[in-house]
């Protein structure tokens, strides 16, 4: 999941028929899947559409930072792995757009919302990939955080989303493994490679922690989303899990976590870590990330400068049908 969690509180009790709502809530509480044809509260539909389309957009925009290095990957093997990974991300975008479409919003509308800035995508992709080490760092940390978010979503209440997540999660674990493996080569490599690795780790660590969204006390939808099984764990719970798993991995690589306050807390059986710069997070959500403009320009240009291709395909299809009918 790559949501920014910056949504208005869904207003549940408004206009819905209380009986239907109660039946719906009971089904969700019993861990049944809700399917496209089933009745659902408007707010559930809206929240899910926003969450799934945001996730889809993140997969697609996320192709850009990594695509930036495909042509410069340092070996044939790394090039093939990176191509395969970015291709997977395009596939994830596709399943997720399809899942969101089952809720009644067309892909064109969703893409329009992305390009107009109305729809959000994960803040993480508004940071630049400066050196090759950013590619391993993204696989290890960003895909790692994504998995942490997505594994529980395989049991999310909306059937098409849950099923999309099952497919996505299978591929995400390959993404994380390839990232960690590539990071291992750098961390055991020449002094220049070690420097690259540490620098990338320094830059991606905090944005990765921000991927879990605002702290629970500032996450207005969490309670509702948990109740609806759109979310299954809170932002802070997932973030803690991520830190606890990732810190030993960094130590194994000989990398220093860029957090002077990081300390093992025996009592809680997890790490304490320093304060996250939420001002930075909210600024990036507002579109002030270092390469936000580049990302949106690239997406809009790809869409607009190739509009003629989509028009041609539609025109040809229409002609073909006409000929077949004649």
């Amino acid at each position: 999941m790559y949501t920014t969690e910056l949504s208005k509180q869904p207003n549940v009790q408004s206009i819905e028929d209380p009986e239907r709502l109660a039946a719906f809530e009971a089904r969700v509480a019993a861990d049944e899947f809700i399917e496209p044809k089933d009745w659902m509260p408007e707010a559930y539909r809206r929240t899910l559409t926003r969450q799934i389309s945001q996730h889809a957009h993140s997969e697609i925009v996320g192709m850009l930072p990594e695509g930036n290095w495909i042509t410069r990957a340092p070996s044939l093997r790394r090039k093939a792995i990176l191509l395969a990974k970015v291709q997977d991300e395009a596939g994830h975008g596709l399943y997720l757009y399809c899942a969101a479409e089952t809720l009644g919003t067309s892909r064109e509308e969703m893409i329009e919302a992305l390009h107009s800035g109305k729809a959000k995508y994960s803040t993480i992709f508004n940071y630049p990939t400066l050196t090759w080490a950013d590619i391993p760092a993204i696989g290890w940390l960003v895909d790692g955080a994504a998995i942490m978010n997505q594994v529980p979503l395989q049991r999310t209440s909306y059937g098409p989303y849950a099923r999309a997540m099952v497919r996505v999660c299978k591929e995400e674990s390959f993404h994380q493994r390839q990232g960690y493996e590539a990071m291992t080569s750098l961390a055991n490599g020449t002094p220049e490679q070690k420097r690259m690795a540490q620098d990338a780790f320094n830059r991606w660590w905090w944005p990765s922690l921000m991927m879990f969204g605002p702290p629970d006390e500032n996450s207005p939808n969490t309670a509702q989303s948990l109740r609806w099984r759109i979310k299954r764990e809170t932002n802070d719970e997932l973030r803690q899990k991520f830190v606890d798993i990732t810190v030993p991995q960094a130590e194994y690589l000989g990398l220093t976590v860029p957090d002077p306050d990081l300390k093992w807390n025996e009592a809680k059986g997890g790490y304490d870590f320093g304060a996250i710069d939420w001002d930075e997070f909210y600024a990036v959500v507002r579109g002030e990330g270092p390469v936000a403009r580049e990302r949106m320009t690239a997406r809009r240009e790809a869409w607009e400068s190739n509009a003629w291709v989509r028009e041609a395909a539609a025109a040809h299809e229409a002609k073909r049908r006409q000929r077949a009918a004649a």
């Binding site: 192709m63 044939l76 220049e192």
Partner: protein, 273 residues
């Protein structure tokens, strides 16, 4: 000479482990420059076109097209890895040679241009590659025959995909038709090079390694004419062939492509990735 015991797999593994970095990787037929030269031509075609296609990543007309372009790029990089691996050390060959030692044809190094040019280039190349690889599955060189047998299925799909797009674009809107004609005009100059048979190819054909492309030139031209016909596009007039790629004389574009592709291994020659 007394017969020797067979080499045990565990000995090979040990030898592999203690081999110093950068030690000479003996090609399987180090003594056979004809074979190696032919493999380089095939491998470089795949590598350079795969590199070009991967430039589209994230910028294609739709998510579906992004997927199919990445998929083709991945197939081509895979072919290059196998073919160059038969000619020597694949990574050194890909990342440490300069333009004069690249053996790919001019067609594959052409810049992507717009989507129409990319698809025309793909049609012209993949149709040729498909016909060639069908024949190479019968190569006397077992390694090459095996690579061709695997690749021919991938290439059949590339060929089909490109033909479908050229038809869609040629028979789409006025704009897409114009763009496809432009792409055809750009790429057509490089078709004759695909059928050029120089001494090296002649020797590889004689050795039973290579296929003679002249055998399927008529079939190729008929197939391209069929696709263009379906697209409602005229077959361009032939002009004086542009040749030289097979001998290391390329367009200006290749040097820039290599500068990007090779920058890391050249900047950090001691690094392993």
């Amino acid at each position: 000479m007394p017969s020797l015991p067979p080499i045990r797999p565990e000995d090979v593994a040990t030898a592999e482990k203690i081999r110093p970095d950068g030690a000479f990787d003996a090609p399987s037929d180090a003594h056979d420059p004809v074979r190696a030269g032919y493999l380089l031509r095939l491998g470089d075609d795949s590598l350079i076109l795969g590199q070009r296609l991967s430039e589209w990543c994230g910028h294609a007309p739709s998510v579906e097209v992004d997927l199919s372009l990445a998929n083709m790029a991945l197939d081509l990089i895979g072919q290059a890895t196998l073919l160059l691996g038969e000619a020597g050390d694949a990574d050194s060959l890909a990342f440490k040679r300069d333009v004069l030692d690249f053996r790919n044809c001019w067609l594959v190094e052409q810049p992507n241009g717009d989507f129409a040019r990319t698809m025309v280039r793909q049609l012209l190349f993949s149709t040729w590659q498909h016909m060639l690889y069908q024949r190479l599955t019968g190569s006397r060189d077992e390694a090459l025959a095996g690579i061709a047998a695997k690749a021919v299925k991938e290439v059949a799909y590339h060929r089909e995909l490109a033909a479908e797009w050229v038809i869609r674009l040629g028979d789409g809107t006025e704009e897409s038709r114009e763009r496809t004609l432009d792409g055809l005009g750009w790429c057509w100059r490089f078709v004759p090079e695909l059928f050029e048979v120089d001494d090296e190819v002649e020797q590889a054909v004689a050795a039973g390694i290579a296929a003679d492309p002249r055998e399927f030139e008529a079939e190729y031209r008929a197939e391209i004419a069929r696709v263009l016909g379906e697209a409602g596009l005229p077959v361009p007039n032939d002009q004086r062939p542009i040749l030289g790629g097979r001998r290391g004389h390329h367009s200006e574009h290749l040097g820039h492509l290599l500068a990007i592709m090779q920058y890391l291994p050249r900047t950090y020659p001691d690094a392993k990735w």
